[in-house]
């Protein structure tokens, strides 16, 4: 395994808190709850695993123990064997085959059918359709955590959230923040108001 400190992007002299912070930041990017089941899910998963191992190793080295708080474990899925096969095909990236199998099911298009159809669309990058099918899956089976996770991921994207975005600027619609123009306008406005009331903020105008 490569240098665990490198994996976490911290120096070997970093404090435990810094390491925990780095771990949390990276885990937030790679975590399957965030990454969803797209075509890069396996890459994200192996990065998550590498991250967990690096974190464990550092913590072991430092005090012999300490498990990461949010270690990811693969979930198992129930469902019929046909759906299991479709899942397998999606995971292998055989989207056309998976889609074909789904299209052949014309009775009993249940929540899982909708979810898998959504997953195929998602992997293709057909995000509008994916959202439609994920919504449908949640509507049919509101308590299923898998369907809800897929939908809530897309909902947070819909609200403009981007993975790994640490920009301190907050509202992106105003790239330059309160720029010079805004500031001047505000001052002039304030001056006008003051003048209306008989006062004066900027004496020269």
């Amino acid at each position: 395994m490569s240098d665990p400190y490198r994996v976490l992007g911290v120096s070997p002299t970093a404090t435990d808190d810094e390491i925990r912070e780095a771990y949390r930041n990276l885990a937030a990017k790679y975590h399957p709850d965030v990454q969803g089941k797209g075509p890069l899910a396996d890459i994200a998963q192996s990065k998550m695993q590498e991250l967990n191992e690096a974190y464990d190793k550092i913590m072991d080295m430092r005090r012999g123990g300490g498990k990461p708080s949010s270690e990811y474990t693969q979930q198992s899925h129930g469902g019929s064997s046909l759906f299991a096969e479709i899942r397998r095909q999606i995971q292998l990236g055989n989207l056309a085959i998976a889609d074909d199998m789904l299209e052949r099911i014309d009775v009993d298009r249940n929540a899982e059918w909708s979810f898998l159809k959504g997953s195929v669309c998602y992997a293709r990058g057909w995000l509008n359709d994916a959202y439609h099918f994920f919504s449908n899956a949640v509507k049919l089976s509101p308590d299923n955590p898998e369907y809800r996770a897929a939908l809530s991921n897309m909902n947070s994207a819909k609200e403009g959230k981007m993975n790994g975005d640490n920009s301190p600027y907050g509202d992106k619609t105003r790239l330059c923040g309160a720029g010079i123009c805004d500031t001047c306008q505000l001052l002039i406005c304030a001056d006008c108001c003051c003048e209306c009331m008989g006062g004066d903020l900027i004496p020269c105008c």
Partner: protein, 288 residues
């Protein structure tokens, strides 16, 4: 973004312009920031370090501008641009009336030579582009109501181009996904830019035919389009965070987390992004 990062981005743009000249004069007129970003991504992934020179620039008369020197990144991107522009022009001639068709016709003949040259370097890219443009022609003439399918050809072309950036199989997959979503974003941005015009003229625009858009006003159509845009950006960021070990990361971060959402917001407010995105980042306060 720091000033030096911004300078580099501009230098990539200018370097790409000079590189395009080696394909033919006409191709220089087609440069866009989309491709400058592709060049930068290439340099970031492959850690291309190039010299920056200062020289007088054709477009700015005698004013000296900085530009990055010839590299694989620029050569590849210039070729990709020639291929994509040539097919775009061909498509415009086939299906557009009016001014767009006229300007496409003027550019068509001079673009032929740069295209042939680029095709010689990357025959596979030329083939994928050609196939997808004919697919696009079909979706448009069939008035396809699905935004996902309408965006597919542009997305697939960008995906194939971005995948060429790295030889590492894992990075290739990440870049292909990023390229797909970037292409999808570009298509949606263009559709959004045209939506008002198409709304009046009745020309094909997938945003006008979406579910729930029947008898809608422009404001509601834009509201529905907003989701498509932000799904795309969210998914783009999911792929992007998997791409580690990048040079020039602050600039790429800036484009992805600020430049693209800024363009999106501007278009969603109904403001125009004029021309083929030729303005410098400074003028528009954003980068793409």
């Amino acid at each position: 973004m720091k000033i030096c990062d911004y300078e580099l981005y501009k230098a990539v743009y200018c370097g790409l312009c000079k590189e395009l000249a080696s394909f033919g004069i006409a191709s220089r007129m087609t440069l866009s920031y989309d491709f400058a970003f592709l060049a930068l991504l290439y340099m970031a992934v492959n850690k291309t370090v190039t010299e920056i020179r200062r020289e007088p620039c054709m477009a700015h008369a005698i004013k000296k501008t900085s530009y990055v020197c010839h590299s694989d990144a620029l050569q590849f991107t210039a070729a990709a641009e020639c291929i994509s522009v040539y097919h775009k022009i061909k498509d415009d001639i086939e299906d557009d009336g009016g001014i767009k068709r006229l300007s496409a016709k003027t550019l068509f003949v001079p673009m032929k030579k740069p295209y042939e040259k680029a095709k010689k370097f990357y025959p596979d890219l030329a083939k994928i582009t050609e196939e997808n443009m004919s697919l696009q022609h079909k979706t448009e003439s069939g008035k396809c109501p699905s935004v996902d399918r309408a965006a597919e050809p542009t997305a697939a072309i960008m995906s194939a181009m971005a995948a060429r950036i790295s030889d590492n199989p894992e990075k290739k997959r990440i870049l292909a996904r990023m390229g797909y979503l970037l292409g999808r974003f570009i298509y949606l941005a263009d559709a959004l830019d045209d939506v008002e015009k198409d709304f009046r003229s009745g020309n094909y625009n997938p945003l006008l035919l979406q579910e729930g858009c029947e008898n809608c006003n422009l404001e509601n159509i834009r509201k529905i389009a907003r989701d498509s845009i932000y799904f795309t950006l969210g998914e783009l960021s999911n792929a992007y965070v998997l791409l580690d070990d990048l040079m020039y990361k602050p600039i790429i971060d800036n484009v992805i987390y600020m430049g693209l959402p800024y363009v999106a917001e501007k278009l969603l407010r109904g403001e125009k992004i004029s021309g083929p995105r030729k303005h410098s980042p400074a003028e528009r306060n954003e980068i793409i």
